[in-house]
């Protein structure tokens, strides 16, 4: 009788999950009217062409997304979808009709929880705002609007297509149709002063969002800003002061600071994003979309073909994956921490085992080291980053980085 070679592997080297985590769906729409100089996402300028050509491209892309989800079904068989996020690129470039068709197709093929959060990322252009109502009617129940700033001069330096007036108008319309919407803002912008940074927050609050993300402008590698950094960027001191002022102002307004850059009114966190940060599963469809999927004996990461045109061809060929790998046991703890420690309240110790199948005692040494340096505290149930740990999250995470 032959013996399976698996029996010779030490059990701790095998991932063993007793239950699978919640599953989200991410849908990537890769086109933008133009590429912002700070953006490192997989976005591409919408090809020039006639209206008919644009429509044909949109139709083909939606068809491909539907095929994509069908191809992926075996890897998520029987699992419920707890949230959907349309991201990009600029998903609000999708016509309401196309989005409606896509949502219907997804509902027909997936078990989507009735109370699932369904978010769409939108640009605050006039053109897009007019579509908000239709999006709501199609079943989108949350908007995330990429305002970045209300200051026309800053918007220009960020290379944004909209202006301050359009931004206000878009939020006004969003408020009319959505009771749940997020505003994305950036601070530490070129030549920005502390009052200007706070003024942007103030303006955003006046439109009654339930959620606000305030990102420190980061010069990401492989972006125009990384190659040609903008002039007059605020120094460390000033940008840290801005962060502090923003946190204070949002706390006053009753917002809870629950993740590095995310703030929400009580009970309104982004459930989709929370699923990332609690190391849940996600299926990503569309060009360059990333998935993280758990099975009882392994956790895999996948990425679909990145270039939109190549993606369309890959789908036609029935092979949309560009990369597909099992997360090594050594990396699991780090990747878990990289997400979960972003949460201001940290995480329950039991979650660690639930998500990656390892005992928390596997990282006891690192936890103690982090605690000694004042970067986190661990109680019987929870692991919580300290304020210092949140500010120096990279230093905290480095402790868990395998050598």
């Amino acid at each position: 009788m032959s013996v399976s070679p698996l029996q010779f592997q030490r059990p701790e080297h095998l991932t063993q999950l007793s239950s699978l985590p919640p599953l989200s769906l991410y849908v990537h729409i890769p086109w933008c009217l133009r590429k912002c100089p700070y953006c490192d996402f997989n976005s591409h300028v919408l090809p020039q062409g006639s209206e008919a050509e644009k429509l044909a491209l949109e139709t083909r892309y939606i068809d491909s997304l539907i095929t994509d989800v069908e191809l992926a079904l075996p890897s998520i068989w029987g699992r419920r979808i707890s949230s959907i996020f349309f991201g990009g690129g600029t998903p609000s470039l999708l016509s309401p009709a196309a989005l409606d068709r896509l949502l219907l197709a997804l509902q027909a093929r997936l078990k989507i929880n009735p109370d699932a959060e369904i978010t769409l990322e939108a640009n605050p252009g006039t053109f897009e705002a007019e579509r908000f109502r239709a999006y709501r009617a199609s079943g989108i129940n949350r908007l995330s609007i990429g305002i970045q700033s209300f200051d026309p001069e800053k918007l220009q330096r960020l290379g944004r297509v909209h202006d301050g007036e359009q931004a206000r108008r878009a939020l006004e319309i969003a408020g009319q149709h959505f009771d749940n919407f997020n505003v994305d803002l950036m601070y530490a912008l070129p030549a920005q002063t502390l009052p200007q940074a706070v003024a942007d927050i103030e303006t955003a609050l006046s439109f009654g969002p339930t959620h606000l993300s305030a990102y420190h402008l980061t010069l990401e590698p492989n972006t125009l800003f990384a190659a040609q950094p903008p002039a007059e960027l605020p120094n460390d001191e000033l940008s840290a002061d801005m962060q502090q002022a923003i946190e204070q102002r949002l706390a006053q307004a009753g917002f809870e600071h629950y993740e590095t850059s995310a703030f929400c009114l009580p009970h309104h966190p982004s459930r989709h994003n929370l699923n990332y940060w609690t190391f849940g599963d996600y299926l990503g469809i569309g060009a360059g979309a990333h998935s993280k999927l758990s099975f009882h004996d392994k956790i895999v990461r996948q990425m679909r073909v990145k270039q939109p045109q190549a993606y369309l061809e890959a789908i036609a060929a029935g092979q949309p994956l560009q990369t597909d790998h099992v997360i090594a046991a050594d990396d699991l703890a780090f990747e878990f921490m990289m997400n979960a420690l972003r949460l201001n309240h940290g995480f329950a110790k039991s979650l660690f085992h639930e998500r990656i199948g390892l005992s928390i005692s596997a990282i006891l040494y690192e936890l103690d080291a982090a605690q000694q340096r004042g970067l986190l505290t661990h109680t019987a149930q929870d692991i919580i980053p300290t304020q210092q740990g949140r500010r120096f999250l990279n230093d905290l995470l480095a402790i868990f980085l395998p050598d």
Partner: protein, 597 residues
Amino acid sequence: MNLIRNFSIIAHIDHGKSTLADRFIQYCGGLSEREMNSQVLDSMDIEKERGITIKAQTAALQYRARDGQTYALNLIDTPGHVDFSYEVSRSLSACEGALLVVDASQGVEAQTVANCYTAIELGVEVVPVLNKIDLPAAEPERVSQEIEDIIGIEATDAVRASAKSGIGIEDILEEIVKKIPPPQGKPDAPLKALIIDSWFDNYVGVVMLVRVVDGSLKPKDKIKFMATGAEHLCEQVGVFTPKSLPRPALHAGEVGFVIAGIKELKSAKVGDTITLATQPATEALPGFKEVQSQVFAGLYPVESHDYEALRDALEKLQLNDASLRFEPEVSQALGFGFRCGFLGLLHLEIVQERLEREFDMDLITTAPTVVYEVLLKDGELIEVENPSRLPDPGKIEEIREPIITSTILVPQDYVGAVMTLCNQKRGVQRNMQYMGRQVMLTYDMPMNEVVMDFFDKLKSTSRGYASLDYEFKEFQTADLVKLDILVNSERVDALSLIVHRASSQYRGRELAAKMRELIPRQMFDIAVQAAIGSHIIARETIKALRKNVLAKCYGGDITRKKKLLEKQKAGKKRMKQVGNVEIPQAAFLAILQVSDK
């Protein structure tokens, strides 16, 4: 023996020595055109890159002279830098003559003078050659006069040549034949061969470069080292052309190599005399002075687990570089490492570079220092080569620092600037002599000041024209103190320095300021202090970073963001953790970047 000429070339860096040597080899057909890789005698990568010669090399040439006879010319190449002057005297002692090559546009330089004097002292015939004669700026008359003024040898008839363009090469070879005497020696006496140099070859073991003075040597001879008494079987003899070329025997007057299956370099000590075990010579040849380390520095692996690898690397380097000294040392700040002794700063740099390049070591080098004599109150005299080992001031009667006599040759235009520099470095003028357009300055200077950055400064104040030579003079009592650097109140032993009291305040302030620049901001404030004893003389604060966190991390970001964090961590690993502070490698050499007031 009358047809043998052993000679070397004395020249300043860049005056064209290696090019000239290449020409000789080409003229006499030592190598084919294809093998004439640029500057064939400089074989180490570093030698080629820096354009300097570190190890002596030789070439045996066959020259058919105008008198119709074919002469065996043995060229023994010599290093040109002050750090390696001991190698020069070794090479010269194997020769009867030396070509003094002087750049006809630049004139005589200090190093050349020193080597020339060495040659004259050793009784070697010096034959002047004016090189680069085809340059528009060449002034052969003036330079001939300068040679006569400064060195004191007849130079009016000096051959005018250009190694680069091939002018006058044959004339030089004729001069060698005519002016340099043939070697003296007794071909039939018992063997006496002087080891001029030795090095380790991975395939054949130790290779010895020897000058046979008396007798002859052939394979299968049982040889004996007169200093150690050790006996070995001679396996192969030959000459370098500069390719190695086996010969049936080496005879009196000849220079060549000997291979005898020796595994350790220390068994074949440079300066020792080889004789035959069966028919030994009664008396050894006068050998060479032991080389003394002049400059010391700590070398530490960045990663403490590389300590053994560093030891291996140093041992391997030592196989070919007997002047490199090292012994284990422990630093509180840097952990386990080695205190190494070098001939000079260039030697240090070369060793450091070879360790990094050839052995892939990641190193922290501490500031170079000299050796001090410390007289204790109880009358004991100790040597201190590591500032952190300086005894408690209460126990010290006096500290004596090494003083060198330095000879500087500099064009008149820059004399003022160079004198100011020497004064800054606590130099005491001993002599000043005008020689044509150049001035020869003689200063007594603390060596400590010279090892820091004197050479670089000298070059920059004189636009590269000043040249320097020095020799150790004596130990002299001086008012010296130990300057400590404290990082977050913790004394970092690897940063301690011995400085003169008069400049201690200034140096302390500057060093603390420099450290503030070099140590990156971290999670907390870092205090950098300079102290003399318990007295704090300077303080700088490195303000804490406000944050270090990635603004965004969503599903698709994991892999990219993880790479970013890995990069951050790798950057930190290249730093040394002292207490809870991460100090970059460069900070340990910060003192070299501190300017003078």
